[in-house]
Amino acid sequence: MFWLLIGSGLSASFQPTEAANGPGYIEYFYPGIVVLVLLFTSIFATISVVNDRREGFLQSILVAPVPRWRVVMAQALGGTTLALLQGLLLLLLAPTVGIRFSATSILLSIGVMALLAFGLTNLGLLIAWRMESTQGFHAIMNLLLIPIWLLSGAFFPSTGVPGWLAWTMKLNPLTYGLAAFRHSLYFDTTANAFGEAPPWTLSMLITGLFCVLTYVGATLTASAQTN
């Protein structure tokens, strides 16, 4: 819904500079919405950690002889599964915006979605394991996670934006995640004309690194917060 309403509303004023008859805004916005769904589902899957570790199911796990890295990995894979399932539902709509899948591009897209969901769930865990209240978690959501998404190229490309904003977008890890996803959607075609997206190899490299770092960060945080 969000995608259709905003996409349709902004499509009139959206004109990519490189391609005169390139994709419309609805098509441009589509990968961004998939990433938003991944972001929301992943992060919301981790909120339960805040209360659960003090009173609930997680307490039983914390007193079991299981190392923290395994607990965090299980949580991350759980969140990834949920987010990926939601993302896959949205991926079914890809042909409606004119995306033509090949076997390679669909597998790559799903792979990149899984990576993104894993990294984002770990980012959520990294925050949730530190939080004392769910209110605090929501505050972080608004202050950090929504801007990360807005400035990833999901909403608008970096072409033509002021210098400071372009730099912020360049430093945002999700910019590379989104670029990797765009590249994989259009893997076999040349239709990918969406401004200055980072190249495929760099995007995949940074997305992979993001997954590793957030997982290590979440594990260290969980270990530090528990005995």
């Binding site: 009173e55 199911f57 007193v63 002889p65 299981v66």
Partner: protein
Amino acid sequence: MSARGFLVADTEVLHSITTEGFRQLTVSDNRIEVENLSHAYQQRQALDNVSFDVSCGEIFGLLGPNGSGKTTLFRILSTLMPVTSGTVRILGHDLATEVKAIRNLLGVVFQHPGLDAKLTVVENLRHHGHLYGLAGKTLHHRISELLERFGLSDRAKERVEILSSGLQRRVEIAKALLHSPRVLLLDEPTSGLDVTARRQLSDYLGTIAQTENILVLLTTHLLDDAEACNRVGILDIGRLVALGEPDELKNRVGGDVILIESTDNETLGIAIAERFRVSTIFADNHLRIECKRGHEFVRDVVATFPDEIQTIRFGKPTLEDVFVKLTGNPFL
């Protein structure tokens, strides 16, 4: 006889002749030993120099009002919080350095449900078994055995959320015992249960402790729960103020307990203290008096102050009386 079978309180080391020859068994292998344990949250001292021992086969209750430090102590013993001052040894393992070994020995039942309400009873048990390295036929047999013992066999495939709170607590205990722990820790196990379920739980714990020689340690703020324990430690503002068998502790009160209510407790308290040479304590809107031959005292005091006394109750001391005597505070 196995090492677990020996319970020796006084001797430090027990020499046991086994078929293999001499084997040295230390008493600490069968005990929880807490020595000078203290814990502070920033400025607030939650535990202050607490020391006690509990042996296998025993049901030990930590009794205390809210804020007495029992939950902090429980969280430390269950390995959720680190030992910051003092030492705790659980069946011979140091809690500060051997957390992993200790976690294998513990079964923990939290006050708040530790079950996944959306899963069935048997699914909850299966997941728990996996956490402790149980799988396949061993796990299957163990689950069937516990379901049978706790009368849950016919509810095994039902989702936990539709079970009554008494049944859910039973599932929790079955889950905690699944990996055959030698120590069972329970935090306020009877909270939210009705009288029948409480009594059943108490019976279960008694059977488990005796038949399997398991060390059962529970926290409670309910006097009835504490009365059912073999030994009790009473906590007040982080300090262990009493330790012993319930009857032994109650004998310390010395005689009978009389509770009096009047329109002016203070004036009446002073008058009774002067007339009968007894000490009176103001607690929880009534006067509390301890004395020997309470029935005679009741007769005399009613005869002396017939108009001032609204109600008078006479009884044998309870653990609450022990708490009031030792701390001077009402048990709230």
